[in-house]
């Protein structure tokens, strides 16, 4: 008996200790959270009164984190631009890496209440939660003191970035006032010429051409659509509907968002896609392959037509590879294809929004948020962007145009591409100002002799950016994953992925229709309507915001 009693006492003791230890640690963080939150309010109110901070007047030490699995932030000072900033402006930034698991890293930061000074992440629920917890500094007080962001992003874009409390917490990256994008079609010109360069404008032309390729070059993939068949989704643009509708899992109809599985254009598009796949004109590995396998096929010249959302980057690399082996081989981008009866100027393979790609936030771990903002604002201005992309004045350029674009010198022209790649020019631009960088790159490219012109810049200017649509009204439609709508869209995403696969593998056109009906029923069972209402409301909210 005594033994047993002692054992029970010991067990109870152990449990108590566990609870005490765990309880203590959590209480502490909660208190800290409160204190920092109140600190936030007081600091942001006093910020406006101080003097304008001159970069370089005192050392500035910051930490920077990019919330992406794939992102590895290079050391500060690795390229000529940041090296110059480090030496002349006494700025040092320490990168914090996601280690390939951004979601976990972010959770750890939240749970331990230990944030980097500047974070680069997607717009959306994470930022809103950080804001509600009082972990972010508002940037409004600095907008007029440091003019670049306001000047280049514009009031309308900044309004779209404002949080529900009316304040601005997000510093955009690659915000833009002109089209951007990367998606489109490319063809293997060697194969194309050998088959007599047939007309390639409509999907019917494409179908005939792919059949011809399959017959004459059995070892070649007629149509490569990238991993997860992302390029196939992009091809819906050819039916006159933005692929964006697929990504938000709802189709625009008037001012409502409606069931995608019931949309007639979507059905038409999938019927076409399924036919191409069934007749083995699309790579049969479309849904199983990795992007490395896709690149391998492109780099060895075994693809006749490529459709991809990152077409420009894939083809840029592939061209270098195949041309070094066979000088006659080449890829060339073509004007986006379209279905019969669709105007070729109404086909948009890419989409952009003026808010850009993602945003930087300044967290309350930053001692002096104004200094951090001053740095970001300088970096996003013409001087900062030019330094980040082409190094300090006197290396690759001695003078600038009236717009601030660099006028390249002989050293730029005589340095090989390989050498420039090694210097990692532009690697640290996380405050991208598209309205400055793209025209500047275009101007440099235009000043080059024909054979030295950069392929990528030419394709972007001549094709891709002309076929990119403005979708600013559709930003911020993703619900918080822990909310009810968030759980619905997660289930709908699962259904979408499964049914997309099943439909592509469908044995007949009739089966495509049946599968779409099944998908629609399954989606309504998991509460699709709630999500459709949510996106409709959010979208209409954006529309009214933009009219202001």
């Amino acid at each position: 008996m005594l033994k047993r009693k002692k054992f029970i006492v010991f067990t109870v003791f152990v449990l108590c200790m566990t609870l005490i230890i765990s309880g203590c640690s959590k209480n502490n963080t909660a208190k800290e959270q409160q204190s920092t939150a109140s600190q936030t309010a007081s600091e942001s109110s006093t910020a406006a009164t101080s003097e304008v901070f001159q970069l370089g007047s005192e050392p500035l030490d910051l930490t920077f984190y990019g919330n992406y699995d794939w992102m590895t932030v290079d050391p500060w000072g690795i390229d000529p631009g940041t090296q110059w900033i480090k030496e002349n402006m006494k700025v040092n930034i320490t990168p914090i890496q996601s280690g390939g698991a951004a979601e976990q890293k972010f959770s750890t930061m939240v749970a331990s209440d230990n944030y980097p000074n500047i974070m680069l992440l997607e717009r959306g629920s994470n930022i809103e939660k950080l804001r509600q917890a009082g972990k972010l500094f508002a940037l409004d007080d600095y907008l007029d003191k440091y003019p670049n962001l306001k000047k280049y992003a514009g009031e309308a874009t900044l309004n779209m970035l404002r949080s529900p409390d009316g304040k601005l917490y997000q510093f955009p990256n690659w915000y833009t006032n002109k089209p951007t994008g990367n998606a489109g079609y490319a063809i293997n010109t060697k194969i194309y010429k050998s088959l007599g360069s047939p007309k390639l404008e409509t999907f019917d032309d494409l179908y005939d051409y792919l059949k011809l390729v399959k017959e004459k070059y059995p070892k070649v993939v007629p149509l490569e659509v990238d991993d997860k068949a992302r390029g196939l989704e992009m091809m819906m643009s050819g039916f006159g509907v933005l692929p964006n509708n697929i990504y938000i899992r709802a189709f625009q109809d008037g001012n409502q968002m409606t069931d995608m599985f019931k949309n007639p254009v979507y059905k038409q598009f999938l019927t076409f896609g399924s036919k191409l796949f069934r007749e083995k004109l699309i790579t049969q590995d479309a849904l199983t392959q990795t992007s490395d396998q896709v690149k391998e096929k492109l780099n060895s010249g075994r693809v006749a037509v490529f459709a991809g959302t990152d077409m420009v980057e894939y083809i840029r690399d592939a061209r270098i590879k195949i041309r070094s082996v066979d000088p006659e081989a080449d890829y060339q981008a073509i004007w986006p294809l379209h279905a019969e009866g669709v105007n070729r100027d109404q086909v948009f393979t890419s989409a952009y929004n003026t808010l850009g790609w993602n945003v930087n936030v300044i967290t309350t771990s930053t001692k002096d948020p104004e200094k951090a903002f001053a740095l970001m604002d300088w970096l996003t201005g013409p001087d900062g962007q030019r330094t980040l992309w082409w190094g300090p004045q006197g290396t690759y350029y001695d003078d600038t145009t009236a717009d601030g674009a660099p006028i390249m010198n002989d050293k730029w022209n005589s340095t090989s591409e390989e050498e420039k790649n090694k210097q990692k020019l532009g690697t640290w631009d996380y405050w991208g100002n598209t309205g400055y960088v793209d025209p500047a790159k275009g101007a440099i490219n235009n000043s080059m002799p024909e054979e030295k012109k950069d392929w990528m810049t030419t394709v972007l200017n001549d094709v891709v950016w002309k076929t990119s649509a403005d979708i600013t009204q559709f930003v911020n439609l993703t619900p918080d994953p822990t909310s009810e709508e968030g759980q619905v869209i997660q289930a709908v995403n699962d259904l979408y992925e499964q049914y997309f696969g099943k439909i592509i593998y469908a044995k007949s056109d009739a089966e495509v229709g049946n599968l779409l009906d099944d998908a629609s029923q399954a989606a309504s069972k998991v509460g699709y309507d709630k999500y459709l209402k949510f996106v409709t409301d959010k979208w209409q909210e954006n529309v009214t915001k933009m009219k202001q």
């Binding site: 002692k6 765990s22 959590k26």
Partner: protein, 318 residues
């Protein structure tokens, strides 16, 4: 077990002394054990309070204590989820198959290797079979995916060369092939390494037994069944129990990496991949914990059951 321990204590003259004086008497031994106990406590027991998260609606920003209690709502959500039935079925079926095929495979390999008399050959086979164990699943799945590709995949090329098939088969998009691919990849990866322990057990058998058996006229096969297998049976049973305790661990990285095609989800989604995809990736930590806890409870029940059975053979874990 317990009654034995009690009787030992009652016969012991130091019974009346306090726990403390017993401790002091054995201080040298105890000091060696204490760090281990502390480690187990800190790393295995202390984090266990986290399972309470399954009964809360955990909000990362509010912290653990401030998140509201929701009772068994998370469990209900899981039981009513459309995925529940096939996730549970896949978990049980895939782990059963891994047990039925993956468990005997290394034993058979060990028995076969033991019969090889040409040492150099035996060593080469052993090395070749256990090397894949050291490759990560990322690399192995890379091999498998490119081997099974329709475009330049070696398996399709081979089958076409020998005219077994006309058109390449898209192996990794046909749901009915997936379990076979998964199980055989698993066996290939781990059979060599797992056989080491059985080879060691076989090496420990007294050679006189074999000599005696052969004098009595037992052939090679007979020797395997009457000497080798009975001698390594305790090892087999212990590993069997451990394997049953692991039965709901149907695998994670292998499935995640091989079942890239969402069309396979009906046959590939197991509890762990489901927790990762739906819970962790969407920051639904409470839900993830509830599903994980459900899995652990079943595992504990299965382990206890397996141990009961094994106790009859006298080789139980506890």
């Amino acid at each position: 077990m317990k009654s034995k321990a009690v009787s030992l204590v009652t016969n012991n003259p130091i019974k009346k002394k306090s726990v403390w004086s017993q401790f002091v008497r054995q201080w040298d031994t105890q000091i060696m054990i204490i760090p281990g106990i502390i480690c187990v406590f800190i790393f295995s027991y202390a984090p266990m309070y986290g399972v309470l998260m399954a009964f809360k609606n955990y909000d990362l920003f509010k912290g653990f204590s401030a998140s509201p209690w929701v009772g068994i709502k998370q469990f209900e959500t899981f039981f009513h989820a459309p995925e529940f039935s096939y996730v549970l079925r896949n978990t049980l079926c895939i782990s059963m198959l891994k047990l039925l095929i993956g468990f005997p495979a290394p034993i058979i390999l060990a028995l076969m290797l033991n019969e090889v008399r040409f040492m150099a050959f035996k060593r080469i086979i052993q090395t070749v079979t256990y090397l894949p164990h050291f490759l990560s699943w990322v690399i192995v799945s890379g091999f498998v995916v490119s081997m099974l590709a329709t475009d330049n995949g070696s398996l399709n090329m081979l089958l076409q060369e020998v005219h077994l098939i006309q058109e390449p088969i898209n192996w990794l998009s046909v749901p009915s092939y997936f379990w076979t691919i998964l199980i055989s990849t698993n066996v290939w990866k781990d059979v060599g390494f797992a056989s080491i322990v059985y080879l060691a057990a076989i090496a420990g058998i007294d050679p006189q037994l074999f000599e005696a058996a052969s004098i009595d006229g037992a052939g090679r096969f007979r020797q395997i069944f009457v000497i080798t297998i009975p001698s390594i049976l305790p090892v087999i049973i212990i590993f069997m129990i451990l394997a049953i305790g692991n039965i709901l661990n149907a695998g994670f990285d292998d499935i995640l990496l091989l079942a890239r095609n969402p069309i396979l989800r009906n046959v590939s989604d197991v509890i762990d991949t489901y927790v990762y995809r739906v819970g962790v990736m969407n920051s639904r930590y409470s839900y993830a914990t509830a599903v994980g806890l459900f899995k652990s409870l079943i595992s504990v029940a299965l382990l206890t059951f397996a141990n009961r059975l094994a106790r009859r053979s006298g080789n139980s874990l506890w």
